[in-house]
Amino acid sequence: MHYRKLMTRAALAGGFAIALVLTVHAARTPAVAAGDLAGGSAGLKSAGALAFGPDGVLFVGDSAGGAIAAIDTADRTPAGSAANINVQGIDEKIAALVGVMPGDILLNDVAVNPISKNVYVSAARGRGPDAAPLVVRVDASGKLTLLALDNIKHETVSLSDAPVANPTARQNPRTQTITDMAFVNGNVMVAGMSNEEWSSALRSIPYPFKAAAKGTQLQIWHASHGRYETQSPVRTFVPYTIDGQQYVLAAYTCTPLVKIPVSDLKAGAQVKGVTISDLGSGNQPLDMVPYKKDGHEFILIANSSFGVVKLHADNLGQYKPIDSPTVVDVAGAPYDKITAVTNVRHLTQFDASRALVLTSAGGGGFGPATGPFNLQTVALP
């Protein structure tokens, strides 16, 4: 097994400071049963980031509409011994289902229903501003089912507390792209990036939405690369438990992987996170899957230009928050490169022993999105 120290550089001794800037926070209530959701059109303008909540509820990030929809998949039949998924040409199949050429399908995200183990794919039918949002269910047999987004039980929360646009403009040109979502401790956590100002909003919205207003918005600061700090938008993150404490492992658009304790994300608090690792310059983590195997903890990470790596995570709890900007020499968590899995565009957990990957014939990461795209389960290494 090839081990390699990720970081020994002083630059990665950074901590992350999180300042709460908006505190519209409602008391949490127990997760609503999916049966309580109201029917009708989900009103989605786009279907991007996906995350499963309780009871077969799927959160769909709608960047174009500035909203999150919780939709009832009505998919609550537990999987038996779930079979492997292997769908070759998922882009061609979805294109045929909705009647366009495969090049006019943009695949945006994948998620696995933890109850049924059915796979959900978000996509756009078309590449222009009028592209129709799609959510497609793929079962173990490879059968595709298009979710009727115009008539489905759902609940929606708007993220549009954006600054008032130029009143003379016909349409607000500002958008907040949802880069990732996760359901953590009864909250939908949403990372986003504005197309205008440089901001680092990480929002935490209690579910069900109707009791939640717009949730708590956090501002993320990258606290010490050398002696400087900046706002750092989150690209991808995943909930993770270390020594019994809930964390969010987050990868920033500009920085290494860090851990942020969820319990500290309270109004008025300032939180120090800690750098875990950096996978090299010019590289961006795309998706992360924490898992346990043979008594050890790992994080499988798909990267934009660095392929897939398996991070050894047994000792993440030993990384202490850095309370001062002092430059300290810290070794990053070791990792292995996983060469058996290539061309990955999306990665998510399938079950305790398998991951689900979406791969492209055009290569992984952010290269040209040329098909065919394949959807398949792989054994966690």
Partner: protein, 346 residues
């Protein structure tokens, strides 16, 4: 366009008595079996091992019909298959509407408009004349060095930030290379080097929202300038107040180029009668902001209300540099959201 596609292609069918009385038509977006409705109608929009087209079948006016969930699309060949009860399947293919082929889209302008950009330039805003296709920026935008070599890793990968009309694209220079002392910054340097010459090239092949390439390619030549590390300070801005009774523009000189998109909404002028309505203009390579009022100015005290999130080209906000030297007391920075700059109209 789809509605104009009213096709009534009648298939003269086959050899059997049953088939001889059956035809399949496409009327607008409705596939229809003309003949006995007893059977199944399935439409395919792809070849190989693909699912049938999503839609609903029904009996309408005695005919078996299929309504696709989505409109018919250009370039797609649809294969309708009718299988009568106890009979052999018959099929007919139909082409979707014709693709548009006449190019109309072009790059209208790019901000910053200056030909010298700071080496810590943060964002690039590209304005198109028509709605564009998503998912192509990675292939279609190139930054060349002075020798014409394509540079890699200039922009944040995988981040196409569009406005709702897909007419304005925001690209972000790789912040990992901009932020001082990060790994990328140390190993690769900033995306733009001071005093070096660059060309941004946007390929003509970039398709608009209808799949048609642009009218022409776009090039912008610029030179790298010194990094801008200090925050904009409104106290240093020069305000030129127009005379009372005139409809002349109020002019603010920033002393440096600012973020064009934010200048559209992060400044306003308030007086005793409330906010002054008018037309915003951004001139002199985004270093000047003008408000031309709808009505004449009245004498009195006014203030320019500045959103503290207003940025310059390098992402420095009001009172808050993009990357803050942590030895400069950074913890007190998020205190106010607006800053006021008073002036008087006489």
């Amino acid at each position: 366009m789809f509605r104009s596609l009213v096709v009534a292609v009648v298939l003269a069918l086959g050899m059997t008595a049953a088939a001889q009385s059956v035809s399949i038509q496409l009327d607008g977006t409705l596939f229809k079996v003309v003949g006995p409705p007893s059977g199944t109608l399935t439409v395919y929009a792809g070849t190989g091992d693909v699912p049938p087209l999503a839609g609903k079948t029904a009996i309408e006016n005695g005919a078996l019909v299929f309504r696709p969930t989505f409109p018919l699309a250009p370039g797609v060949r649809y294969r309708a298959v009718f299988t009568p009860k106890g009979g052999a399947a018959v099929e007919k293919t139909f082409d979707g509407p014709a693709r548009r082929t006449t190019p109309t889209a072009r790059v209208e302008r790019v901000y910053p408009s200056a030909d010298v950009l700071p080496s810590n330039q943060l964002r690039l805003y590209i304005y198109f004349s028509a709605s564009m296709s998503q998912g192509e920026a990675e292939q279609r935008i190139h930054v060349l060095d002075a020798g014409g070599k394509v540079l890699r890793g200039v922009f944040l990968p995988g981040q196409e930030l569009w406005d709702p009309n897909n007419r304005r694209l925001t690209m972000t220079f790789d912040p990992g290379r901009i932020k001082r002392d990060l790994t990328s910054n140390r190993t690769m340097g900033p995306p733009i080097a001071d005093s070096k010459r660059y060309t941004i090239v946007i390929d003509r092949e970039w398709r608009d929202a209808n799949g048609v390439p642009m009218v022409e390619a776009f090039r912008k030549v610029f030179r790298g300038g010194p990094a801008v590390r200090h925050a904009p300070d409104p106290k240093t801005w020069r305000v030129v107040a127009p005379p009372a009774g005139s409809r002349d523009a109020l002019v603010i000189h920033f002393g440096r180029p600012m973020n064009y998109t934010l200048l559209q909404r992060m400044l306003k002028v308030s007086g005793a009668r409330g906010d002054v309505a008018g037309t915003i203009g951004v001139t002199r390579e985004e270093s000047e902001w003008r408000l031309t009022p709808l009505g004449p100015w009245t004498a009195g005290n006014y203030r320019i209300v500045i959103d503290a999130s207003l940025e310059d080209l390098a992402g420095n906000k009001i009172g808050q540099p993009f990357d803050i030297d942590v030895f400069d007391k950074v913890t007190e920075r998020i205190t106010t959201t607006t800053v006021s700059l008073p002036f008087e109209i006489r």
